[in-house]
Symmetry: D2
Subunit: 341 residues, 4 copies
Amino acid sequence: MLSFESDYVEGAHEQILKRLMETNLEQLSGYGTDPYCESAKEKIKAACGCKDAEVEFLVGGTQTNQIVIDTMLAPYEGVIAATSGHVSVHEAGAIEFLGHKVLELPQKNGKLCVEDVRKFTETFYADGNHEHMVFPGMVYISHPTEFGTLYTKEELAQLSAVCKEFGMRLYLDGARLAFGLKATDTDVTLTDIAKYCDVFYIGGTKAGALCGEAVVFTGGCKPKHFITRVKQHGGLLAKGRLLGVQFDTLFTDDLYGKIGEHAISLAVRMKEMFLQKGYKLFIDSTTNQQFVILENKKMEELAKEVRFSFWEKYDDEHTVVRFATSFATTEEALEKLDSVL
Amino acid sequence: MLSFESDYVEGAHEQILKRLMETNLEQLSGYGTDPYCESAKEKIKAACGCKDAEVEFLVGGTQTNQIVIDTMLAPYEGVIAATSGHVSVHEAGAIEFLGHKVLELPQKNGKLCVEDVRKFTETFYADGNHEHMVFPGMVYISHPTEFGTLYTKEELAQLSAVCKEFGMRLYLDGARLAFGLKATDTDVTLTDIAKYCDVFYIGGTKAGALCGEAVVFTGGCKPKHFITRVKQHGGLLAKGRLLGVQFDTLFTDDLYGKIGEHAISLAVRMKEMFLQKGYKLFIDSTTNQQFVILENKKMEELAKEVRFSFWEKYDDEHTVVRFATSFATTEEALEKLDSVL
Amino acid sequence: MLSFESDYVEGAHEQILKRLMETNLEQLSGYGTDPYCESAKEKIKAACGCKDAEVEFLVGGTQTNQIVIDTMLAPYEGVIAATSGHVSVHEAGAIEFLGHKVLELPQKNGKLCVEDVRKFTETFYADGNHEHMVFPGMVYISHPTEFGTLYTKEELAQLSAVCKEFGMRLYLDGARLAFGLKATDTDVTLTDIAKYCDVFYIGGTKAGALCGEAVVFTGGCKPKHFITRVKQHGGLLAKGRLLGVQFDTLFTDDLYGKIGEHAISLAVRMKEMFLQKGYKLFIDSTTNQQFVILENKKMEELAKEVRFSFWEKYDDEHTVVRFATSFATTEEALEKLDSVL
Amino acid sequence: MLSFESDYVEGAHEQILKRLMETNLEQLSGYGTDPYCESAKEKIKAACGCKDAEVEFLVGGTQTNQIVIDTMLAPYEGVIAATSGHVSVHEAGAIEFLGHKVLELPQKNGKLCVEDVRKFTETFYADGNHEHMVFPGMVYISHPTEFGTLYTKEELAQLSAVCKEFGMRLYLDGARLAFGLKATDTDVTLTDIAKYCDVFYIGGTKAGALCGEAVVFTGGCKPKHFITRVKQHGGLLAKGRLLGVQFDTLFTDDLYGKIGEHAISLAVRMKEMFLQKGYKLFIDSTTNQQFVILENKKMEELAKEVRFSFWEKYDDEHTVVRFATSFATTEEALEKLDSVL
């Protein structure tokens, strides 16, 4: 059955599989010390316009959030996130599991407001009892957010400023960054992200890799003995080449950008299809995830023809569902979707 | 340069890459709920001769040890292991990181002695203060061990008995199980392992997979909400198919067995080569890792021609080094090695 | 200077010090195995009307919350609490430090609403992705709450019912229980609490002890090897007598009840004083903590004569402050307070 | 029955109880911010001859070891300790519970050898795989040791030197320091300890306090936001005065020294008694704990008259037991012991 369930329902971009085949029998050293990892790191630093950046590869998104947050925070620090942030709700408590509170602030279109962050932090330091409370040590944002929305360059600049003012680090979860960078209305580039964030990750899994996320530390903030800590978290791959070759391919001839463009162009058409057919969108997303409010009966009918994700109950008669495009979505698939809407 | 550094220096067995290619564009549900995972689990249960077993896939060895031990132990329990056990020395403290003490007992040829385990446990319960101590809750063994040695069926039976007697679980780390099962002198089968162990894992990474380990729980001992806990540990892959397709391939037409046989047959020849040329072996291994005592000068010379692993200092003039064969080792490579020894 | 800052500004009730003196040179076994601990446990069980209860002593409130929650929850479970709950804000993240998320729900007069708890839990189990989320395993309430308010017997019964329905435990933090039990308008007795809660603690520190809290487990729910876990958490006192003698004294001739009555009777008068002098109360508390909204200028003046606690900013010109009575508050002190209001 | 079971079988020194009574109704601020804590800290710094030291009070020994080690180590670091060290065996895994491996080295008379520490650390850094291992970050010693033995000043100096060389901190567990400082043959003073150790604690519980240990950080090594971390560990007392008053008393007119002298002088006589009556000592202790090898039958007889601690099995017919003196041991008690030996 046709599926728009997510951007991780297919395997890998063919270029990636091709390179894995070509390099398969080369004898390479393990644990990320191979030349493909090295080359991929250099290409990512170049793409970020940030020579001083340090890049490390991890396997999946929750693992990356957990390791980045745990290794960059002091034990007495927590991380500020929107109530809808992935770390707040959909990681089975992975952040708390390693000892850190997620300090949840309201989401607005899936985003944190800089005013809320500022007010929370000011109130914290103004409280005479704050030594009995969890120190805010980091601000977590996802870009695109879990609702497919995006921060503007100005918002990133302001978040960065408030972080600097209060000694917090700014961390951007880029699980779907490929799509954020190619959204029709964004003014945020990879260089901007590297400029404003202390640390961020460039998602591979949801952008055509079999697995893998590239963490980029700027300003020399990579934690000491990071590899040892990754090992201690159970996140170090023996065959690090699996990540190196994939990211080296994604950042060769801008494949990462092309994957983003492909998914976005199809998402734009999908969005138009929904609007033309009179569907109501739950939120105005310009990225590869589209959130549609379906009448429950319609939802059941559609579910017989196409797979999508349940998002949340809207009211007693409507449900919010998600349709996503990916590196592998075809025009043909879109046309089929159109025919069943 | 020719490398016998480890069994993870090459990528994946060609059958695995082929299957990844063939299935690449199938749209599959995520997080291990796809049909390839399902099929692989059934094949593994059949190979273990254990219908009631429950199988789960994880990404790497340290992650697997960490998750299995952490989820199966009560918080007040530790795990008994040999001083040379992987969990004791080479996992950056991953077991302690999640709260559990590794209760180290002496190794003999890399193995735990059942008598030592019994004595330790009896002494523990006889101690009037044992409520102020760490309860032994599990026995960890690696098979093959870190020195390439193997337990006998009788030893497994005895370890199992002492575990049952004291309410401990027996856990076998099978990172290199493929080679253990095909060693020339072993009387231990996969069925035996499933019979005697409460939990064990069948290593993929070191046996021709890009990554992946298959954990087998017997006797209904899989921890409750295991998937949630894997997620919480940062170990859940979105594209679970990557593990499912690989293990489905490894357990189709006994590819896993063939990989083991291949590496073992070459290791046997390699061992003979060392002995014929008068090299002294550090330990008598019948698996794919061979430990050779080299004069330091000879070691430096050899290092110009071939890659191997430093193992440990033997004395001021000699060093123990390791040579390993893998799924991809060729006869041609062995001949080259022979020519430089 | 006169202080109404808190209920822990004085040492211990004189009866407690007297008993510590009298028993001082008796040679007693350590770690809570002495006869005073035993006797205190029996008296507490009698006072709770719950023969099957199991009682254990811990040193302080945050330690108790941390140990009870950590030892009673599975690793994949979190604890539901009001946003104003002590575990949510004023324990420096002690709950998350040991791996558990505090699932925060809105407070109403400092209390959790049973409807909110039900809705949260129903939504959780209805969510198809709940295996990727933190399971609600416990409901935490404080009685009196951090705002001095109280649950009714009916509310406890309803919370208990929803907990049973969804397999959660109900935990009552009784740091100031002495005052809750003697509030002028409460219909909740110690027997009710033992009936409806799976676990609760009877606060000593804030009710006239030097330190110490008595945890009461009902229905056989005391975690296995609890003493070992307390030791592992660093909470086991060598001289357990310090807790045993204190609680034995508090539960002899109902000293605990008398301390509660004393503080409440003075708090009632203090509240009347505030109202008579035209002060506005922030919340209607019937326990030993009174929250008063002061004009900022008035607050500064008062602060020269008497100590009280800053609670929170009310608006730009007003502040909420707290005045508390204790076992040691005197009528004379109240009169002095009256004279400076 | 007469008890020599331990040094914590009685309550507190009478001077301490007296001061608790005298100060009982003073209204003091909480959480260690009262003037008695302040005064006690100053007196301890003076006693250590170390103006720059920072002193903090905690409640018990295991809690202190756990908090000191956890807050001073990086997450990737473990602590070196003797196999007989309290942290290695008798704290229910409290160190591992918070994530740190105890790197156990052989004990000699209960002590760590500086040569063993040096060799272990050199081997660690020489190992090419040490990034996959637990970094040694601290050396833990107890003084007196669990066997009542003592380090010499020269040994402390050497341990300090090897720690400095390899970037490790030296931590001395002084649970029974009162007795170590007054041993007949020691050349180690409190000033020496403050000079050579980065952190140590002066035990109160076993030296006449109801509870309480004073941690002394030298060289500015107190962890940042230490109070917040103590709170997060569940170790912060609301009525901090309980610790402040006790340590203020112990360090007034050298009560701490007098308590040590008293227990030692009686222990010396007790040791002579054992030797005169032909008992064999297990180890030559010059502190307040004496370890005697008893024939099992004799042990059973003695146990009817006097309480002592089981230590360990010596052989099938003999057992090692411990007799301890305390601040409260009387000459009369010793005479009674003499009469039953």
